[in-house]
């Protein structure tokens, strides 16, 4: 009789979300199949039906606490169609786009610095006890601070455009409900050079790792 052994990796850690992996081995302990399981189900698609339409951008962004802006903006665009806003004002479009860029920055930094860099810098086979952001803080504190400040930059942009760092209310059906003052803009402009420098530094880490391990 064929025996199937299954290796379960549960939960998946250091990723943006929840998941489970099962690896199915055959009689000779070779991998027959590997599966990724999405273990969560919440039902957003149904329970938003019947709610007041202006709640939708605020509800669906709670699908994810790392990328709420994406869902917030997608819902706002759907609501734009419902309220008949065929075209946004230039201000609204720019503020929404800036909100999204802020999220791209903080989410990518989170993935690269907080979650994945331990694998690149310490090695995939290194001791799991320290192969994490805490290990980075202990062994490479300047890099850790860079990652933290870059993520903060992105989060502050989201706060300036959406009202809160996580789960804001900035995009509404038809436009936005907050402007960006010149003073707020200048605060961000002041740090842009540093952020760009650090981002290019992060690219260098990734490039070096790739070339070293080709």
């Amino acid at each position: 009789m064929t025996k199937t052994r299954v290796i379960e990796i549960e939960p998946i850690t250091r990723v943006e979300g929840h998941g489970k992996i099962t690896i199915h081995l055959d009689d000779h302990n070779n991998v027959r199949e590997a599966r990724l399981h999405v273990v969560e189900f919440r039902g957003f698609e149904r329970f938003i039906c019947g709610r007041p339409y202006w709640e939708v951008p605020v509800i669906v962004q709670r699908l994810c606490g790392i990328c709420p802006v994406s869902h917030h903006l997608a819902a706002s665009k759907a609501m734009d169609m419902i309220v008949g806003a065929k075209k946004l004002t230039p201000t609204a479009e720019k503020i929404r786009r800036l909100m999204h860029y802020g999220q791209i920055m903080q989410s990518h930094v989170l993935h690269f610095f907080h979650l994945s860099s331990p694998d690149l810098l310490f090695g995939f086979g290194s001791d799991p006890e320290s192969r994490n952001i805490i290990g980075i803080v202990e062994k490479m504190p300047e890099l850790a601070v860079q990652g933290v400040m870059m993520r903060k930059f992105g989060q502050e942009i989201i706060k300036a455009t959406a009202g809160k760092k996580i789960h804001g209310t900035g995009a509404v059906p038809g436009g936005v409900n907050k402007n960006l003052s010149i003073a707020e803009r200048d605060v961000f402009l002041r740090d842009i050079g540093q952020m760009k420098k650090w981002a290019l530094g992060a690219l260098d880490i990734a490039r070096k790792y790739t070339l070293d391990n080709l």
Partner: protein
């Protein structure tokens, strides 16, 4: 001596964990006071030792959430629920009662996998792999499953609020939080 803490996101969106990371550079200070046991930000997937404080984000939507929450209660001296999902079910709890529906969970599953305009599901199956944890009949708040010691309200509570609360807990003097930081939308 450093306190040992662990964190988990049950059926949460990870917003509360992200808010925890919003303490920004204070994470260096935090790591002088605590060491982490299992947490989504490291690769410890089971408890290594008894923990002083466990931070729970999210409510219970499936059986695996319940098992994990009970593990946390068994292994942590103090359990703190962060955010509305842990306190009262948060947003996922909206699937417990849908207006004009006698079977809200069935309708949620059918809408997601069968009936929506852009669903492509040639076998017309709702996912039922044995590896998937069973969905509970209702979404449960953490306090309905195990005894919880503290709650920090918010969706999510801000990084500053969490920093204030964590320091108070680590110093053994959990005080209330002022109204301005525990209002939520």
């Amino acid at each position: 001596m450093k306190k040992r803490i662990s964190t988990i996101s049950l059926a949460g969106c990870f917003g509360c964990h992200m808010s925890l990371l919003d303490i920004d550079e204070r994470i260096l200070e935090l790591l002088k006071l605590v060491e982490f046991d299992r947490s989504p930000i490291n690769d410890l997937k089971r408890f290594k030792a008894r923990c002083d404080i466990g931070f729970i984000e999210g409510g219970c939507c499936n059986e695996e959430n319940v098992h994990t929450l009970r593990e946390f209660r068994k292994n942590c001296d103090v359990l703190v629920g962060i955010g509305q999902c842990a306190i009262m079910g948060g947003l996922p709890v909206m699937r417990n009662a849908i207006m004009h529906s006698n079977d809200p969970l069935r309708e949620c599953l059918e809408t997601a996998y069968l009936n929506s305009p852009y669903v492509y599901n040639p076998t017309n199956d709702i996912p039922n792999d044995p590896a998937l944890p069973l969905i509970l009949d209702k979404v449960y708040a953490c306090a309905e499953v195990v005894k919880m010691d503290y709650h920090i309200p918010g969706c999510p509570p801000s990084g500053d609020t969490l920093w204030q609360a964590i320091n108070a807990l680590l110093n053994g003097n959990p005080s209330g939080l002022p109204n301005e930081v525990i209002r939520f939308d």
